[in-house]
């Protein structure tokens, strides 16, 4: 609970971690009340990169708001685009061609891998190892090249359109992706040797950063954080959308509730994403990527709509309230790290600062998505 | 240039040892905290050690006796520091101060 620190017991002092701190991945600020190196209390201060996305949604038309989704979570922009496309398509009743769905899945999963790679690199950087970051970014560049050849940008893709896609993929992309899958499998083995098996890393992560199931429920933690606590919850499985039901993949779940479990979940997820991409490439149907009758004006009927997708960080939900005009009446973005980070306050009590920052890294934060 | 050869005379070292010792005494009297007193005491010990070492160099019939004595002093100093500081920490935990004058309830 975020009780205000009204009375400071003796011998504690307040340590301001952030807004500029190498470990906070951006501009998060955590006011830690410390007793020596032990954390007595931590209060997170958000809003250093509050970019008014929800206000903008009310000012812009539905297609105009699409680029914002890429800025929300710049690491897995595709999944966020997907979520927004889903909710608008649901509201307007737009059918998506099958080929487009498959390409969506391929790009989203590629993006998920690239997001996890950034996380892996940055996480090991948090733990003090620098080299894995470089390897991760090298692998990630391969994905970025692939996605750039399709979407035209490296990071903040604006690739999905209501009912379809910006444009089709070509054969180069397909062969490139297959080559990437081969390469990535080898690299994952390398990471297992370099990072996963490392005794220093294991000692730092195992049995540190406890997040149990009850805490997940109370805070609404989703994604790898919940799955690292033994909760078998993945929106792709529990609430199938797009063409996910047609793929054979596993949802990695570890019950140890510690940072290492969350770490392993993400490492396994990369492998599963590779599997999904492989299957999607095999099954990729021919056909158009946009509906025959491209919707000209997006004006959903009045009412509430909701859609959730599984991003790299967890359950991203959009609640859209339409009043029948060109702009959304209210667009609520339910960001996964917002809930995931919230439990940091409670979970980090009594930890050493080094462990707390390792724990924070295992939550995989993207601050602009929290602040919106 | 006579000053440049004073390092060859015993008196230099003795006077110097006395200087450090009296500095230590001054510190011991004026310091208010236990740790400050400890530092001053270490200073006194250093003064004494210099005396031993200079006697060892210039006077002793058996040239390692002073060094061994100084070693002994070092051991004592280390022990003193360890014990003294653990007392300081314990006292601080108990009374939240290390000001020697405020620790009147220490007796008894």
């Amino acid at each position: 609970m975020t009780e205000p620190i009204s009375l400071q017991p003796d011998e504690t002092f307040v340590l301001n971690v952030g807004p500029q701190h190498p470990a906070t991945h951006g501009v998060l600020r955590v006011k830690m009340t410390m007793d020596g190196e032990y954390i007595y209390n931590a209060e997170t201060v958000l809003g250093y990169i509050h970019r008014m996305h929800e206000k903008m949604a009310e000012n812009r038309t539905y297609p105009q708001f699409m680029p914002n989704m890429g800025r929300l979570d710049y690491l897995s922009a595709m999944a966020f685009n997907h979520g927004y496309a889903l909710v608008v398509e649901r509201a307007c009743g737009i059918e998506v061609p099958e080929r487009a769905e498959y390409i969506r899945v391929i790009t989203v999963e590629l993006n998920r891998i690239s997001s996890h790679l950034v996380w892996l690199g940055a996480y090991v950087l948090d733990l003090g190892g620098f080299t894995p970051l470089m390897y991760c970014f090298d692998d990630r560049e391969q994905i970025l090249d692939l996605l750039e050849s399709v979407t035209g940008s490296r990071l903040t893709y604006c690739y999905f359109r209501f009912g379809g896609l910006y444009n089709d993929i070509d054969d180069d992309f397909i062969s490139g992706t297959r080559a990437f899958i081969k390469r990535m499998r080898k690299e994952l083995k390398m990471y297992a040797k370099l990072v996963t098996g490392n005794i220093i890393l294991m000692r730092r992560l195992k049995d540190h950063g406890p997040v149990d199931q009850d805490m997940c429920q109370r805070y609404g933690a989703t994604g790898p954080v919940a799955r690292g606590s033994g909760i078998n919850y993945d929106v792709r499985r529990n609430e199938p959308y797009s063409v996910y039901p047609e793929f054979d993949f596993e949802v990695p779940v570890y019950g140890e509730c510690d940072s290492y479990a969350r770490y392993l979940v993400r490492m396994d997820e990369m492998e599963q994403s590779l599997r999904i991409i492989e299957q999607a490439l095999d099954k990729l149907p021919d056909g158009p990527v946009n509906p025959k009758k491209k919707p000209k004006l997006i004006k959903p009927p009045p009412g509430d709509y909701f859609a959730a997708v599984e991003t790299a960080r967890g359950n991203f939900g959009i609640r859209m309230v339409s009043d029948g005009s060109k702009n959304a009446y209210r667009l609520k973005l339910r960001s996964p790290t917002y809930s995931n980070m919230h439990l940091f306050d409670e979970a980090c009590r009594g930890m050493l600062i080094a462990d707390a920052l390792a724990f924070m890294g295992s939550l995989d934060l993207v601050i602009p998505e929290m602040d919106r | 240039m006579a000053l440049l050869s004073i390092h060859q005379y015993l008196t230099t070292y003795l006077v110097f040892g006395a200087m450090l010792f009296s500095l230590g005494v001054y510190g011991l009297v004026t310091r208010k905290t236990l740790i400050g007193m400890l530092i001053a005491a270490e200073l006194m010990l250093a003064g004494v050690s210099i005396n031993f070492m200079s006697f060892n160099r210039f006077l002793a019939p058996d040239p390692s006796v002073g060094q061994i004595f100084t070693l002994f002093i070092m051991a004592i100093a280390a022990a003193e520091a360890a014990i003294g500081l653990s007392i300081v920490v314990a006292v601080y935990r108990q009374f939240k101060t290390v000001d020697a004058e405020e620790l009147v309830n220490l007796k008894g």
Binding site: G47, K55, E58, R218, G303, N315, G324 | -
Partner: protein, 171 residues
Amino acid sequence: MKIQEKTKEALSTLFADLPPSEPEPDDAEEGEKKPVPRGNGIIEQDYLLKGFHLDVQLESEQLLEAVQIIFDLGYYLESITGVDWIKDDQLEVVYDFSRYDFDLCRTVLRTRLPRSAPQLPSITPIYTGASWHERETHDFFGIIFDGHPHLVPLLLPEDADFHPLLKDFKA
């Protein structure tokens, strides 16, 4: 029994004293311009169309009771948000709940408050994670959550006294 029915049954105890005709069919939302805001009650929505299953509107006094029921059934809190119905001179607070297991049922609790006195009991004692969501809603809409332990701006600067998502907000 499917969780959807179970939840519906548990929640319908809250509306026992309502006249039976009140829960309207879901076409209430479909109407182009609905003259009267819908009344309290449970509506089962078409998931494929709306994205959620149960839509419950209740009085602000019933909120804590309903949230407790939801909590006991094992739901997790997805989000809390507000909607400014300026034409009705009302603020709506929407609670989204979802489940971790495969028995999917998204439940929405909503309650309406007068714009002049937006006060609501805080559900932080039940769902600890509601704290930030409530602070955020307070930031954006100025809704005051009674019993919240630390209701200060979260996303806006500490000294902010404006509520940007209100429809009559001007920068």
